[in-house]
Subunit: 203 residues, 2 copies
């Protein structure tokens, strides 16, 4: 690959936890890529032009040559299968399903609970904070139950499940959601941050 | 398999769209299974006993011998990989990612938009209906854009993406969300209902 003109382009925003998931995996896989900033809070992802890339009008979007993939979960699956080994995303039925369980938590409790609480308090959005906290709690409790005795969410090693769940849990405080009741989750955050190739949200 | 004592048990409720996703795939794969009714609206999925099966306190839960899998998306992935062929869930990176894009829509716009609107109007829950409609719209628009010219969501044949997206779109009217603006989505609902092994929500 000619790293001067990387084939991978990520439509991206530095404060987006969903984009951070993808940047973490790109970094951990050592994949050169171009970042294209999209002012999503300013409406740039809702333009007709951007919707040709992603009909949902959201970041992140990954472009790999002629291929366009939208949605952070789908991008993680694509990158792990295309460029990773099967430790990041196993192929065996049960092992893959274990990863999917936590991808589902990342798309539900963590996104509608934690990310929306943060968006309300820090990004000027207007979601129901009490509802956000109700939505977040079962996901954090499930993570605490799993991580109290296991180092990683879906296997005995890191998978894309850990990367998908990490950003909005790490940002829980920005939504005034305390992680005090979840000590195993806090210890896991530190483990994720110690992985080779980990990069912070804002670089 | 001895169909008198099926190895597969589904913790289930007939009115649950998330359970319907799983019943559709079980039926289309021809898998004998026992259905165990859980009164989730009455709180039965929130008991300590049920949380030993699923720490999130939700249905559906699939038990396959000694294996317990929670979350409808994870169960679809498990069943497709374990008992299906790769038409239901491809293994190639891009083809799998295309399925994941629509599984993400099913977990986001369709669940937080359509399912919550229905739960509010029909099941006594108390979500913000205006927010539900805002959440649903980009998902339905993305489906309309895809299905206007393609028969199925993620491939040129049905995949678990179609089964994951079907139930809450079929139930959109119960949340007073009109599908009038989405004619290709309405035609696709009929195609899903014509698949061999399709079963209605309530049997």
């Amino acid at each position: 690959m000619n790293t001067d003109t990387p084939a991978l382009k990520l439509y991206d925003l530095d404060i987006s936890g969903n984009c951070h998931k993808v940047r973490l995996l790109l970094s951990m896989l050592g994949l050169a890529h171009e970042r294209i900033r999209v002012d999503a809070p300013g409406g740039e992802s809702l333009t007709a032009g951007f919707r040709r890339l992603n009909p949902r009008g959201q970041i992140p979007v990954l472009v790999d040559g002629d291929t366009v993939i939208w949605d952070s979960m789908a991008i993680l699956v694509y990158l792990a299968r295309r460029y990773g080994d099967d430790r990041w995303l196993p192929t065996a039925a049960l092992a893959e399903a274990r990863v999917m369980q936590w991808l589902a938590v990342s798309e539900n409790e963590l996104l509608y609970g934690l990310a929306r609480a943060r968006a309300t308090l820090r990004l000027g959005r207007d979601f129901d904070l009490a509802q956000c906290r109700r939505d977040a709690a079962p996901g954090l409790a499930a993570m605490q139950a799993r991580l109290d005795g296991h180092a990683w969410l879906a296997a005995d090693h890191p998978t894309i499940a850990d990367l998908a769940c990490y950003p909005y849990v790490a940002l829980a405080g920005e939504g005034d959601v305390s992680l005090e009741p979840y000590p195993a989750v806090r210890a896991w955050l530190e483990r994720v941050e110690g992985l080779p190739g980990w990069v912070p949200l804002r670089e």
